[in-house]
Amino acid sequence: MESLHILWMSTGLANFELGQVIMMLVGCLLLFLAIAKNFEPLLLLPMGFGAILTNIPVAGFSEVGGLLHYIYYAGIDTGIFPLLIFMGVGAMTDFGALIANPKTLFLGAAAQFGIFATLFGAIALNAIPGFEFTLKDASAIAIIGGADGPTAIFLASKLAPELLGAIAVAAYSYMALVPIIQPPIMRALTTEDERKIEMAQLRHVTKIEKVIFPLGVLLMTIFFLPAATPLVGMFCLGNLMKECGVVDRLSSTAQNELINIVTIFLGLGVGSKLSAEAFLNVETLGILALGAVAFSIGTASGVLMAKFMNKVSKEKVNPLIGAAGVSAVPMAARVANKVGLESNPHNFLLMHAMGPNVAGVLGSAVAAGILLALVG
């Protein structure tokens, strides 16, 4: 009898709290979005699963000695996992389109306005009772507008670890929603004629340019923004490994096995921050709202910047590719391509949109560095 009582007391049913149940449903929602809706499944699936695991009563996944505790403190608190992901992403990134058309860097820069406007917005939310975002919190939230998962996780783990779960959920969800969020904004801000603009074919980019480029980016970051060097440095290492052509086995491992292993752990570790006390509050609603705002402003800024550039320069740019400046590689570039095809079925913008797309990755990393340097 006693044994049965102990057994009963050790069941989940006898120990559930409401918050845990709700957070498990949130985890299930993330799994649903990942599996059924194909929302960034590589990260949302392990993240949703981690959210379920961390909220199991009695099991203690995120307490000292629990699996998710080890994963979080070894890999996310230290920043190692997002940096390794960034290295792998660097090894998958081709800067050719950007080097061929460097003007598109301005589009990637403009789209970062989504970040800084959202920072302002997060502070503005403090006017509403219930919100008390510090400047650190606001910075971590704002980086959602960078549309770059590892950057957001890295910054949040440094500036506002208690908001990490909500920020990661928002960042990846909106990245998956890019095909829904962006097109209306893009259509509203452009005329049919602008959307029809065809761009000149990109010039051939030589191997030496691609090899020197990551080193140049790193050098500039060292000069002007050392706080961004962890992110930019690992990204450039990955890109250099890819482009140099002499360490193909390392490059291949960085963009396959290593990034896969780290992705599983990163997702689980981020999911472990989706506890009821950290997630079920009004601040999460604020973060979700601000994230949507950030993406929208970033998209709009990119498009408007392209229109501005068309005013001052004779070489025309299709303003749709400005929207790709929010990064969300390669989704945003595909969206630009698709919206462009609606107006001109023979106008393939994909390659041109890759320029602002990867510029947006650099821009977000730079913005993250600025926030770390000034707020961190």
């Binding site: 820069a109 800084f116 502070i123 400047l135 030589t206």
Partner: protein
């Protein structure tokens, strides 16, 4: 000046400094690409890489004797198809 106002001022400064910095940084990168990389590209153009494919072709020719082009095409297609599937699985 109360606390919220101060936060607003700080956020505004951050926004301004941040956007200026981002534009400056990526702007210098444009100069870097136009001034440095472009010159490098002209000075060290990509070698016309025929050596590698040629070596391959030679080797294959030696090994495959008198096989008709469509057969070779079929093989290439089969191999590249498998290669694609394989890389997807990874």
């Amino acid at each position: 000046m109360d606390n919220l106002t101060q936060l607003f001022v700080e956020a505004g400064t951050l926004m301004l400094a941040g956007m200026v910095f981002v534009f400056a940084f990526l702007g210098i990168l444009i100069i870097f690409i136009n001034k440095v990389l472009l010159k490098l590209a002209i000075k060290f153009p990509d070698p016309i890489i025929q050596s590698k494919p040629q070596r391959k072709t030679n080797k294959t020719n030696v090994e495959k004797g008198g096989i008709s082009p469509p057969v070779v095409a079929a093989i290439s297609s089969a191999v590249s198809q498998y290669r694609q599937q394989h890389s997807k699985n990874k």
